[in-house]
């Protein structure tokens, strides 16, 4: 069975809450809390959409986004940034690195769902 969405974020509580809500909407969801490890696991999980935090230990979300986009099978995968950082330079940078959208926490779950539905 394929996975619709992978959530990557170092905050476990946020991961669990978001996963539960996305599952309620019928999506299949995997969560990853270690950005470095996620680079190895993503090709195995092979999701349709990635939702990515920015401020994570070991590897920040910008570097991870760049590394994901460099994997041949993920060149075109939709990545939605979900970050606590509400600064326009960060948003511009994420979009330049290939993110589809940059949403700021706290995000209304309806807004996140409608963004996901553009890609699934």
């Amino acid at each position: 069975m394929s996975t619709d969405i992978v959530l990557i974020d170092d905050n476990e509580i946020h991961l669990q809450t978001t996963r539960r809500i996305l599952q309620n909407y019928g999506f299949s969801v995997e969560t990853l809390s270690d950005p470095v490890q996620s680079l190895e696991l993503l090709p195995v999980i092979n999701p349709r959409v990635i939702i990515l935090d920015i401020m994570m230990p070991g590897m920040d979300g910008f570097h991870l986004l760049k590394s994901i986009k460099e994997l041949p099978q993920f060149t075109d995968i939709p990545v939605i940034i979900l970050s606590g950082k509400q600064f326009s330079p960060d948003k511009r940078k994420a979009l330049a690195l290939g993110a589809k959208e940059y949403l700021t926490k706290p995000v209304n779950s309806r807004d996140l769902i409608s963004e996901i539905k553009k890609h699934i």
Binding site: H14, T18, M56, G58, F62, K66, G84, A96, L97
Partner: protein
């Protein structure tokens, strides 16, 4: 045994002049001397005077320069840091790469011939660059942790474990929006808790306190803190001493005095105790 000395305490841009004489007008730069090691925290315009003082000692210099982030007020002193021009000296710059640009490229960028007549490659000292992320490190026997803070770009906060003292340095940081904690409706987390955990029980906290509460309301998403937030973090994290830092370029000495007084009053109104000072150029704290 050692000391921590402030060479630049101002945010954003140098502010020389009679109205900032007491606290000082140079941008971020701190010196830590501890166990024969020289740590420099940020390389704002205060770095120039620090460099001249180091030259006066007449010894070879081995320095580790920890950069919080690459905004101008944190790197603009580098072209004027005389020890970096002297063969035999060794300077290691540490900070977070941006995904699209390395630490070295960012630092050398401000010395592009368009902006400055001498290029980074022409500096005579041995220059090293070390990329950091959010992690725990021991580099040349310097033990420290880093934290991504809420400021544009990959901005870092540092926690140094010196011999007998822990020092946290967070020059530029804005509170996270915690108006809605995780619920069915709003997804997110309390990002400020991670900051409090990082700062927890440190001996000295040097933290952004650029604005009053009223000023902050007009400057949300500029990446800086109202002093009220800074005091509350210090109280919740049980720190030993709080140093208010990154003074607003619009604040004259009296305005900084007023913020310091109000910060102390806020502690007085709580049921806790906390020693607070405002960072001042030339101020030395014994370690």
């Amino acid at each position: 045994m050692g000391y921590l000395k402030f060479w630049g305490v101002r945010g954003s841009i140098p502010t020389p002049g009679p109205s900032t004489m007491r606290y000082g007008g140079n941008t971020s730069c701190l010196e830590i001397q501890c166990d024969d090691k020289l740590l420099i925290l940020d390389a704002g315009s205060g770095l120039r005077n620090l460099g001249n003082a180091l030259m006066g000692k007449g010894q070879a210099i081995q320095a580790h320069v920890f950069i919080t982030h690459m905004h101008w007020d944190h790197i603009q002193g580098i072209p004027f840091f005389t020890p970096a021009y002297i063969p035999g000296n060794s300077i290691t710059f540490l900070g977070a790469d941006e995904a699209d640009r390395s630490l070295q490229s960012i630092i050398s960028g401000q010395m592009d011939p368009t902006y400055f007549p001498i290029e980074l490659d022409d500096m005579g000292a041995e220059l090293n660059f070390r990329n950091l992320s959010e992690d725990t490190y021991t580099i040349n026997d310097i033990r420290f942790e880093t934290l991504y803070v809420n400021h544009p770009g990959n901005a870092l906060g540092y926690k140094f474990y010196l011999k007998d003292t822990s020092v946290v340095y967070i020059s530029d940081n804005e509170p996270f929006d915690t108006s809605a904690v995780a619920s069915e409706e709003m997804l997110g987390e309390d990002g400020n808790q991670k900051l409090i955990d990082f700062v927890k029980d440190c001996d000295i906290l040097i933290h952004d306190a650029q604005y009053t509460q009223e000023e902050y309301e007009k400057h949300r998403t500029w990446g800086h803190s109202p002093f009220t937030f800074t005091v509350d973090v210090a109280l919740q994290a049980n720190v030993g001493q709080l140093v208010l830092f990154h003074h607003d370029p619009l604040h004259d000495d009296n305005a900084v005095d007023t913020i310091l007084e109000s910060a102390r009053q806020r502690v007085h109104n709580s049921d806790k105790s906390l020693n607070i000072i405002a960072a001042q150029e030339g101020l030395e704290i014994a370690l």
